[in-house]
Symmetry: C2
Subunit: 416 residues, 2 copies
Amino acid sequence: MEAAKTAKATEKYKNYIAILSTWVILATAIGILVGSVTSVLLNTNDFLGETREANTWLIYFLPLGGILIGYMYMYHGKESGNDAALGNNLVIEGVHGKSRVLRRMGPIVYIGTFITVLFGGSTGREGAAIQMGGSVSQGIIQFFKINPIDTKILLMSGISAAFAAAFGTPITGAIFGMEMVTLGKMKYNAFIACVVASFVAHYTTEKAWGVEHEKFIIQAIPELSIVTFAKVIAVSILFGLLSLLYCQLRHGIQKYTEKLFNKNHMIRAFVGGLVIIALTVLIGSYDYNGRGLDMLEQSFKEDVPPYAFIAKLVFTAVTLGTGFVGGEAIPLFFMGATLGNTLSTIVDLPMSFLAGLGLIAAFCAGANTPIAALFLSIEMFDGKGIEYFLVACLVSYIVSGHHGLWPSQSVYGSKS
Amino acid sequence: MEAAKTAKATEKYKNYIAILSTWVILATAIGILVGSVTSVLLNTNDFLGETREANTWLIYFLPLGGILIGYMYMYHGKESGNDAALGNNLVIEGVHGKSRVLRRMGPIVYIGTFITVLFGGSTGREGAAIQMGGSVSQGIIQFFKINPIDTKILLMSGISAAFAAAFGTPITGAIFGMEMVTLGKMKYNAFIACVVASFVAHYTTEKAWGVEHEKFIIQAIPELSIVTFAKVIAVSILFGLLSLLYCQLRHGIQKYTEKLFNKNHMIRAFVGGLVIIALTVLIGSYDYNGRGLDMLEQSFKEDVPPYAFIAKLVFTAVTLGTGFVGGEAIPLFFMGATLGNTLSTIVDLPMSFLAGLGLIAAFCAGANTPIAALFLSIEMFDGKGIEYFLVACLVSYIVSGHHGLWPSQSVYGSKS
């Protein structure tokens, strides 16, 4: 009796170790692959972005680039009812088992991002990283014929790896992969896979490929006081509303143009490109094309134009709303940080602190990932002012309601 | 049509604001109340602990103290099927709506903790804080006749407030309240209430009542490298096993003595007291009675006895397994930190770093709250070595399996 029990326990234990080992190996593979392809994305993007900055006339080819992107998604983006044009939403639906992530999605979004960046659309690249993360995971899933439950976990670890590699923040990446796919709960059963994939991808990117990530420095954090907390809450409401406005405008433009041009993505993006050219000429500066890292960095140090946040909001909503691709995190960082910078003229808080708060809160409200956003603040700003960032994340998360970057996030229970 | 729509939206918005305001007000009330009563707990406990240290003979009254505690729980601890002796488990079940938290639970566990501490049982006080947090919330719930769903959230914010106040860590408190009640997912809908209660309780304790919390300093964090990660994983497995062993022994003693003495908690605790006296005489030191803060602090600075971790494990398992009360977090901190200290003689990592890892990992494995444990490391050690702490939390969380301090935690999905 006892011997049989022990044998059974040993069996169970062996099983447990076997499952764990499998996960560690799979997640390591995903980490290395996703870390490597993300490095390619980051380096190529930097090169193309610099090329555009040196050759500002490239912007006039943006409408043609739009036709190319539209063509790719219309004629090569679909497979058995799954549409790569859904972007991050398709990855999220893949995790929920509602759709199948397409392996071709990663390569397509990479090329689309390169085109968008080279010709001056306003975008980031994190979406591309995440979709490629999903594609790589999907490749492994199909190769090893992984079952549906494990499919979820592998896709989540692909997201984690991509986020960690794209931003140089492994802890945030791990949490983000678990938190992004649902609004309101985290799936711990994917914890190990996400952490391993995240760390491996991060170190692959930094150590093996030598990628360096941007640093934003918060110079001063105010003393903890009720008055400061009140100020942080007030500005965080604004950051949340900013993000809400962006999401509404971006999705509104998408819906409107899809209807107007009867889902012809080539015409949609062509017109979008024309609008971006017009806006660029109108505003008389290239600050709102591409990622806009210069002004983002500037917003932590010195004054930026007071309308910068709204300019970036419109540029990005048009770019991504008409079918260009890339990523929305860096644009949201930009909007939040520049709004923070602008607010520093009327709110008595240090400029770099307001910029940092705006960066994190705008991202949090858009991505609906408060815990990941809090970790992002810890990894970006070395844990400074963590109490304030928690409050900023909470407030912006609540203000944004059930709106966000990705309509496919499932909602579990009301936020309040 | 449009006007009706706008009116409806305005109505919805007003509703939203009203609900939010209610939560902020209720959570603030809980924060102030729980912060204040926790201050009383901490100050009284410090006083009683010092009294015991100055009068070591008090230990000989521990068996009599046990009878008192047993009497309280047997004759005053039950009400319509709900048993205060379940301790934190009753609070957890209250959140899940399976039981009703008793208002009397807090006062009883306070008195029980005072007795345990004065007469030298090995215990902390965090359990008492959390149960009182639950009682205070329950008082508010019954006073305002709160509905079942909101009852959950109020209880969770009571837990958050208590944790924040007991440890001086508001962010960890907020996360802990959400994470403790379930194993494997967090309930974000309680986010706002937990954060507000946690912050208010923390500042009530520190600013209004002048409570000071212990500081543990990690002197050196090793450079990030694969070798160091491997070492961290190896020691974290040991910390996880340590916690597992403690939980098994503690619950084993409880089951065994309950059966042996036919649920007569007075005899159970009397015998438990005798065993503690015998153990204390045997080991010839009072280091393992009470909270043991001196040795816990020492373990970050200089060598402690190599058997300290196992001594504390046995002392605490006997104390709490036979019906004394208080808390298990500080004892777990002690076990983990002293095991880390002992390991520093064979593992080439800085002593204070190993002690810190042990403290966090042992707590994580026992409480099954990896994200809260990670935040605890950030708040305790100023964000130093966060990558290592994440790995330590993950590993110890996995090693501990589905065992933990509180059997009432529900399990959502497998951990692996």
